[in-house]
Symmetry: D2
Subunit: 355 residues, 4 copies
């Protein structure tokens, strides 16, 4: 099978590097263009690499970084684009690519609120793919944009979906402990965070609410209808490399007991597992009974097959009372909550025949 020709935008960033690593030797896609801002142009991937836990293949090491010009990509026959661009620059370039007929899989937030752009998490809302049809009609050459959710939302939505569906739990509080890599590079100055916690991340709490409701909502009669789920978040940055930890609280009369919560989460499977998508975790939600887990250091290992190389979330410390539920969940923010989310979206699009 011929692989589809792909490009990466924002290759030198935290998300872009994860894209490069995950797409190296991918069964469906072949990266033919590694793009970044002008100051990296002409450099080799190996010169800009900053991920200690993701080793470069010999082939990848030597690839050169090129300018980000949508028309060049079109000319090079690029069919799909993975965007790890910062939101401020992503908006226009992603639109240009889509207008030129490319399928854009984006980690940027710029288009997440567009009325015909899905925030896709294949385990949760694969039916939102339908919105793409509308989008393709308005674009001149059939291109489109599909976004992955914000890193914290991705983990949270995956953990909430089975609980909302099975038990109708709808009222959530969540406090986050978010890793440094979520702030990009250079990101957080070391002097600000050494021995400290920063109790604010710009726009994050709003995104958790609005993106969460869009993802958990329906796509009906050509438009997105938000879920009525309530998500109230308090977000902090912590001095951790990778892995967003989230303390989730829920209220509801007649809360199911620990065991039912655990089995409902642990047994959850969906479309990516049915299709055996290459990046799909066998178990999207790993439930641990260990008394002191999940921990970012132990449960967010990009290289660990047991943790689905960062594509599964881990849930632990499930505690219920008659009317309350508490649990901790952990998501690898730059893999499942970033690049990996968009790679899975592209795999789904490919298998669903819209690529």
């Amino acid at each position: 099978m011929t692989k589809r020709r792909a490009a990466i935008l924002g290759t030198t960033g935290m998300i872009g590097q994860r894209f490069a690593h995950m797409l190296d030797d991918h069964p469906y896609f072949e990266v033919v263009a590694y793009c970044a801002s002008d100051r990296s142009q002409g450099k080799k991937i190996s010169e800009v690499w900053k991920l200690p836990d993701a080793e470069l293949s010999d082939d990848l090491e030597g690839r050169a970084i090129q300018q980000t010009v949508a028309e060049d990509l079109s000319r090079e026959g690029v069919e799909l684009v993975f965007s790890g661009l910062p939101s401020d620059v992503a908006k226009d370039i992603e639109d240009e690519c889509a207008e030129l007929g490319m399928a854009v899989f984006s980690n940027a937030s710029s288009h997440r609120t567009d009325p015909d752009t899905p925030i896709l998490i294949p385990e949760i809302n694969h039916d939102h793919l339908e919105a793409v049809d509308i989008q393709r009609k308005r674009r001149r050459k059939g291109g489109y944009i599909i976004t992955n959710a914000n890193c914290s939302v991705t983990g949270l939505a995956l953990g909430l979906k089975p609980l909302v569906d099975a038990f109708g739990i709808e009222d959530f509080h969540v406090a986050t402990y978010q890793a440094l890599s979520g702030a990009g590079y250079p990101g957080v100055p070391a002097v600000d965070i050494l021995g400290n916690i920063l109790p604010h991340i710009s726009k994050e709490e709003e995104k958790m609410k609005s993106e969460g409701r869009k993802i958990l909502g329906r796509f009906e009669h050509g438009q997105f209808v938000d879920s009525s789920v309530s998500i109230l978040a308090s977000c902090t940055r912590v001095n951790v490399r990778d892995g967003h930890l989230e303390a989730v609280f829920a209220r509801m009369p007649d809360m199911p007991d620990n065991e039912r919560i655990a089995s409902t989460l642990g047994e959850f499977k969906s479309r990516p597992q049915e299709l055996s998508l290459p990046s799909a975790p066998v178990e999207p939600i790993i439930v641990t009974a260990a008394p002191n887990r999940p921990q970012p250091l132990v449960d967010s290992l990009a290289g660990s097959p047991e943790r689905a190389r960062g594509m599964a979330i881990t849930v632990g410390r499930i505690r219920t009372t008659e009317d309350s539920l508490r649990l901790f969940l952990l998501v690898h923010n730059t893999i499942r909550g970033g690049a990996g989310g968009s790679v899975l979206n592209a795999e789904l699009a490919h298998r669903e025949g819209i690529l």
Copy 2:
């Protein structure tokens, strides 16, 4: 005025050292005995000192550490005892001291659940002092034990009290970010916490619920009646030196707006402020409007007069909706939430004439 003769138990621990520092040159009390376990016996305070932010006076530096023998203390005329002992050893020794007629002000959890022992936070429940009368009757020589609350509970209860009283808010979720010093010494191994978060602290979540309800409850007809306030906590340890941060969530129809919450908290004063107790903060709750505060590094400074030398809590990021409230609060865990709590208790007892 003659100062009352005091002893410190557990002088070499994290809490014990704070006691030593706060009681050095205290207007009411004079420490005549610094006690610790046998292996520190005979050492000078300066040899066991581990608090980088609390400088020893010349006098304190040279004081020697002695064995912990209740009868020796009695013989030396000690009237009150500050206990920073670990809970497992505290139980018996504190009882012995109380039986010998001493007033024990304890940071240990061993006696917090005793039916006639108050968990005292003078701003909240100074009327619980009454329980001491009952206790003194059962003890042979009129001694008694007063405990301070668990470090996380102290900060939380201070923050909740004005909200419960003014608005009847009763349903709280709280996620904590607890500092290393709360685990004592040696405490948490560095290899476990470097670049990590530990989502479990033994018995902490239970204490937050049960101690919180006792403190916020009443003492009536000779017994404690728990408050009906609901406190559900999820506790973590973070790589921060001092200062427990807490993300608090509350639900209630017709929630007051941000300004009323802020002014109610900021204007809160109580008995210690009326009495101008030496360790009482002028404002027990400092409310900040800064977008990225409170931060443990910035707002838990033991030496800062502006932060009441660790005796005030700091509240920030107050966010309300129609039916919800979110805020962050920060408490210096070894000062207000530890040694300072008991010092304030002793000051209150002294001024209320029961010492």
Copy 3:
């Protein structure tokens, strides 16, 4: 006595804030202008403050930040300028100030190699002040520039001076462990340094050699003559807030023993101590016999009178053999090795009558 009118350049930086804190209520100088780059213009000092361990006075909090225009300063009657500017912008502005007749006390490296500009450390080379006479002649209005040394060099030179003078030791190796604040703000990204050591600091090793030799050298017949001391350094950045630690090695036949090294260092006093300059440490070199000191966390406390509020260096673990010496020394990099160095220089200039 009327205080001399002073300005601070680069007020919002790590060094600038130390200047603001040290000069608040200074006996000789009164800061009349707090300057910074345009984007801070009009802000209050309290809005840009980033030093957790240096509390703002009420007066200082409310002071506004103004643009950096040499002519404005001249018009406002500024007599001396403290510069915490980054080296790239410092060069021209400092020259402009000096040309307008102001005395510039600079932490920037831009002018350190000028042939008539001293790198002044009053304890070591107060006689280098003479170079200022030459400089004043070439400037139109009698202004001049005096620099303080690089942060690592300052600590090292202070520690080496007594050893070079007393014993003729001349051959040094030094490995550094340099704190984050030395890299300014935002400085080192947290993702680069969490759980890591960076074994390179741009131009630092070269500066340690060249600045060290200029400082330890002579000013004769109108020019600087470098010392023949050999200083070979290997510099690293570590995840520490403040305080550069340095492992110093020296070789020489007939090395004096530990006691003589310790007493020679501990008894060292010089011109600032004779003059009792306001910022001069009583003992410039604190020698500790503790087995595990100096430590940045414990011995670099800006607020500690015992550690001379960051103006003394601490030396420990002195170990000698027949022909070798090893020791560790610690310097507070933004105080003694930064702002404090220039404040002391200005105090010396004032008392020597050249201000």
Copy 4:
């Protein structure tokens, strides 16, 4: 080929776990007994695992921990023992095992100074294996002990050996930056090292000198003759998980230039490479020209094939002058400088026919 039956002592420690991980599915050895102290007895390996970067195989996970009784091991047919025991308990047990005929490969320091026990680093002193003959004669049943070097010494000796041999460089200073895992578990308290450097590691500087000279020395006429190389060290503990960084300084007239130093180190190969021992790195010394390497976080990756899974050292920032050399080297302290060292020793012993 039948695999030789092996046991691990101290399985639950930092070194013991590395042994378990490296020996899982080893071509020469089969671990039949995982021993540890009584309090771990009966637990599964998975319950005591603390290494986030070394994943357990399904087989290893379920293995149970047994008591440490030399006679039991003998009865179970154990032929060789890997000891990760703390030095205080290692001495007697290792002797017992050797007396019962087992070959002991030990990371403990207890026997390193024995006159007939080699401190073996196969690339450096494989000929020291000869000492084992003497040892076997004195032991009743032909058992023996071979130690690996201290973690810091291992890296240093590997880096120095080619320089001593090729150029006769003999006079070294070294400052270390040593990782937490070198202190075992629980090791360093987090409160002591967060944002700090500890400038003392018990006995480490002495070991670097004495072990270095024994390793680089000869075994002649039945005894060890120390090398005359001078190694003066200053050792510190830093807040890094794995990987000891060392700043090395050397003095010598007519120092070779950077290129010769680099090629001499990079081309170094020895006996383990000739024999293609399973754990031998293809290049024992990886030389990097990158301006800011080696870094512990990037160059001490246990899972990286490019870094020889922790068995190679990395050397960078080679700087020479006419008479001086400076470089940084990095060794994975629990792999090459710990368990991996002893595994390589056992592989050599096996291939040299003394097992």
